[in-house]
């Protein structure tokens, strides 16, 4: 008999099968992920988690008899009162009695747990994130070295002299290696005795002692390879810096759920991008009607408001928060503004001035996302209908302001917009990166 311990064998043997399964059920899972993502908080997005898909899509068919029609018979245990020839009412629900003809292939929803990466991949895939960009996002992280104690091997450059000498010293003491001055003193005394008295017992003893000490000196070198210590360094990843993301949204009555959903998706993408680039990301939600307020995420996306629209109020609020909490020296500031484009007629100039003079200079990026309803997609291409906010920002852009603008009507258009943002960033890499 052999006993074999397989516990240390690499686990996850079914990983490949799992990937095949995910690929197989991709369409359904994607739908589930999309649904789940809608219900989730932005910061929760990366968590992964359970999704459920209809079992039908991943059923494995086979030639089997149907449960209905035809004569079925059952042998059952536990008869208490029946005698041969009795008849019994059919249990409700047709079919046979307890023993169904089904092969245990349930028609229930099929629930399973996605890992963080799987979830994210599917979420981003939904937005058609090309591989190239994904790789770029994933690798932005600097590596540094950090002192991490001493090691017994290393290159001469890293030799820790002090530590090595200290080791040598302790070793010499521990091994009782004769000190040089002792040897000198002994030699002097021997020389002295030889001069003075000639051969004597004491001289012989001293000479013997000297000989022993010299041998000992040879046996225990002053410095030995085992004394050597090298400085050790270990790689650490350093956060590039910290970032803050401002989410500005017009929540006046004209913003529909669809528009908010579009905005939320854009913010989610931005958040994922930032968290992969920076160790530390904060989010500030500012919503505005004719006046602006900093709120939490729940309120931001979910509570409807009515009232006029004054964009500059949100910009002013953002400016205030930046001054109070996020010094541009220490923070990378990103802002994304989502709006349906309406603004009160006399606010255009104010907003433009605020943006140009105050906001844009401190921002790494400022993205303006104009969200439209699904139905007015046709307009965008042919009829060049420009909202008042769009016109305002367009004029800013013409003056060379660092501003990304996009109009989005449908979920699938979000990613291209997002990518545009980062392509621009790449082109002038270094120029504004701290």
């Amino acid at each position: 008999m052999y006993i074999i311990d397989r516990r240390l064998n690499p686990g996850g043997k079914s990983l490949a099968n799992r990937q095949r399964f995910l690929r197989r059920a991709k369409a359904q899972i994607q739908r589930a992920v999309r649904q789940t993502a809608g219900d989730r908080d932005i910061t929760d997005l990366e968590r992964g988690g359970e999704v459920s898909i209809p079992a039908d899509g991943v059923r494995e068919p086979g030639f089997r008899r149907s449960g209905e029609g035809g004569v079925h018979d059952h042998i059952l245990p536990g008869n208490k009162r029946f005698v041969e020839g009795d008849t019994v009412d059919r249990p409700p629900g047709g079919g046979g009695s307890a023993a169904g003809g089904d092969n245990g292939e349930g028609e229930d929803d099929f629930r399973f747990v996605l890992t963080r990466d799987e979830f994210l991949d599917l979420f981003l895939d939904d937005l058609e994130l090309p591989d190239l960009a994904k790789r770029r996002v994933a690798t932005v992280e600097t590596q540094g070295l950090r002192r991490a104690g001493y090691t017994v091997t290393g290159s001469p450059v890293n030799l820790a002299l002090l530590r090595s000498m200290r080791n040598a010293l302790s070793r010499r003491i521990a091994m009782r290696r004769p000190k040089t001055e002792d040897l000198i003193r002994l030699r002097e005394e021997i020389a002295h005795l030889e001069e003075q008295e000639g051969p004597s017992d004491r001289l012989t003893a001293l000479q013997l002692e000297l000989e022993q000490l010299q041998q000992r000196t040879k046996r225990f070198p002053y410095i030995d390879p085992i004394d050597l210590r090298y400085r050790r360094f270990e790689p650490v990843s350093r956060p590039v810096a910290q970032a803050v993301m401002f989410c500005l949204m017009d929540v006046s009555g004209s913003m529909t759920e669809h528009m908010k959903d579009l905005a939320k998706r854009f913010y989610m993408l931005l958040y994922i991008f930032l968290t992969r680039r920076y160790k530390h990301v904060e989010i500030v939600f500012i919503r505005h009607t004719h006046e602006a307020k900093e709120v939490d995420e729940e309120t931001f996306f979910n509570s409807p408001e009515t009232g006029g629209t004054v964009v500059s109020s949100a910009l002013r609020e953002m400016q205030r928060i930046v001054e109070e909490r996020y010094s541009p020296d220490a923070w990378n500031i990103y802002a994304a503004q989502a709006s349906d484009g309406d603004n009160s007629p006399n606010d255009g100039t104010t907003s433009a001035a605020l943006l140009r003079d105050e906001i844009l200079p401190v921002c790494q990026y400022y993205a303006y996302l104009e969200v439209g309803s699904d139905s007015d997609r046709m307009q965008t291409g042919f009829i060049n209908h420009k909202t008042s906010l769009w016109q305002t920002y367009e004029s800013l852009q013409e003056q060379g302001a660092n501003l990304a603008m996009r109009k989005v009507n449908h979920r699938r258009e979000i990613y291209p917009v997002f990518r545009e943002l980062f392509r621009r960033r790449d082109a002038e890499a270094g120029a504004r990166v701290p």
Partner: protein, 514 residues
């Protein structure tokens, strides 16, 4: 060590180490082989974690298997119900191979390990080695090598032809898996070790030989060949053929050699598992009976403590529980319970027969040597024949079995038979038929190919008890058959007695698939 020897106990408490396992195995072996006369393959016991057990579960319990999404699905299913606590894991998985591999989970207590070793490493092991179906159909020496080959072959196919193409063939093959077995013995025993070599040879052979189907490919200018006689043609194609996978592998005109090989691999594996499907009750009954005898004996000999014995009894009773039909937990007849019940009943008949037993089982009643009888039973029966031979009136009464017939033409369900004098034989016959795979799987055969016309493949389903096939599934599977065959396929559901056709399914191949 010395303390344990003094008390005679194999272990104390729940903890175990490899020394304990070795001692347990030796003690179990002494009883299993020495006293019960079991005949087993050498054992190989592998300790694995719960996660690895889930892995093994997902791929039909085999240690190495090719990759397929359905195993991932199975894993996800098990994993989620395991994590939610809905399902306990099996304590063991045992593989019909030589040496016989048993997996045991590290989380098990020492008592559970003893139980598992007695159950799997001796009970199942003996059954695998001695039952005639396993001897006839499986090759314990070659299976692991063959799986290794299958896994490698399919991986290479994926690299060469792409995941999607391989997956389509595998999906289709899996759907036909239960129609991919030979039910009757062939001339020689399978030797899986040489399968890989034979694959190469087959490849060469097929390139060189002439496929009869190609006669029908229209060629320019060639004179029309005289038609083969109907009978000769069907004989060449080995028709009718119930092994659909075999037929497609050999005769589908448009399959690539690698696609044929994949069909063959799935077919070989289906064939390997075929005896297990036919001997579920006996196999589990044998293992359960063995572990019960061995554990009891260990306790008698003072090798396991009273506490350990109680722990064993608790899991034993859990496993062999049979809820009654009106119990909310009822989900069919528990093969462990039925198998164990029948083995114990045979023991009773051998040692303490009643007059009734003497009448029903004159050969074994009062023979006294239970193990000799059981060893013979384990070697020479399958579930169907076992039940039709050995289900006793005593056990039928004990279980209070009855036979319920559901005829859709009748307004109510009928109690056809109960546990009385008139019912015993009828109950026994019906129950045994439930375990006849040939009876419970729909009987579908390849009947003919329209060679002269559009090469349409004709399948018949011989309808039993007017129960038709599940329509959606039948259509899906038929679609897969059509894709493999490369031309249209028609499946007729036929009443065997009258030849009346209840239903016809037709599928046309997706030209783009292969």
């Amino acid at each position: 060590m010395s303390v344990i020897e003094h008390e005679g106990l194999l272990y104390q408490g729940a903890d175990w180490d490899f020394g304990t396992i070795q001692r347990i195995h030796d003690a179990v072996e002494a009883i299993g082989v020495g006293e019960l006369g079991l005949d087993v393959y050498p054992n190989q016991i592998e300790v694995i974690t719960a996660e690895q057990m889930l892995d093994a579960y997902a791929s039909i319990g085999m240690p190495l298997f090719y990759k397929h999404w359905s195993f991932g699905k199975r894993f996800a299913l098990h994993e989620s119900s395991y994590r939610q606590g809905l399902m306990g894991l099996a304590y063991e998985i045992v593989i019909n191979s030589n040496p016989c591999i048993s997996y045991i989970m590290e989380e098990n207590s020492a008592t559970m390990q003893t139980l598992v070793i007695a159950h799997a490493a001796f009970g199942h092991n003996h059954f695998f080695k001695n039952n005639y179906l396993f001897k006839e159909w499986t090759d314990a020496d070659g299976i692991l090598d063959y799986l290794e080959f299958a896994k490698g072959y399919i991986t290479r196919c994926e690299e060469r032809y792409g995941h999607a193409a391989v997956e389509r063939v595998l999906d289709a093959a899996h759907a036909l898996m239960s129609h991919g077995v030979h039910r009757y013995p062939r001339k020689k025993r399978p030797d899986l070790r040489s399968e890989e070599r034979r694959e190469q040879e087959r490849h060469r052979h097929q390139e060189q030989t002439f496929n009869d189907l190609w006669r029908t490919v229209p060629t320019k200018g060639a004179a029309a060949k005289p038609q083969l006689s109907e009978e000769r043609r069907r004989a060449l194609l080995e028709l009718p053929q119930e092994n659909i996978l075999y037929f497609l592998e050999k005769s589908a005109p448009r399959l690539q050699p690698w696609q044929r090989e994949i069909l063959r691999i799935v077919r070989q594996i289906a064939q390997y598992f075929y005896p297990q499907r036919q001997t579920k009750v006996m196999n589990e009954g044998c293992a359960t009976y063995c572990h019960y005898r061995i554990m009891t004996r260990l306790h008698d000999r003072g090798q396991i403590s009273d506490g350990a014995f109680l722990e064993f009894l608790q899991s034993h009773t859990n496993v062999t529980r049979q809820p009654e039909f009106d119990d909310p937990h009822y989900s069919g007849i528990n093969p462990y319970a039925l198998g164990f019940g029948m083995m114990q009943d045979i023991e009773r008949i051998c040692t303490q027969p009643t007059a009734e037993d003497r009448g029903w089982f004159p050969d074994i009643a009062g023979s006294g040597d239970t193990m000799a009888v059981l060893r013979d039973v384990w070697a020479n029966y399958r579930d169907e024949s076992f039940i039709s031979q050995f289900l006793s009136p005593h056990l039928i009464r004990q279980w209070r079995m009855f036979h319920l017939v559901d005829d859709p033409d009748q307004p109510e369900l009928l109690i056809e038979a109960i546990h009385d004098e008139r019912g015993y034989r009828r109950l026994r016959r019906s129950l045994s038929r439930h375990y006849d795979v040939g009876w419970s799987d729909p009987d579908i055969q390849v009947i003919d190919v329209d060679l002269a016309g559009d090469r349409r493949l004709i399948l018949h389903h011989h309808v039993l008890n007017r129960t038709l096939l599940h329509k959606d599934d039948a259509q899906r599977v038929l679609q897969m058959v059509a894709n493999l065959w490369g031309y249209a396929v028609v499946l007729k559901e036929v009443e065997p007695a009258t030849g009346a056709i209840f239903q016809e399914h037709v599928a046309h191949p997706h030209e783009t698939l292969f």
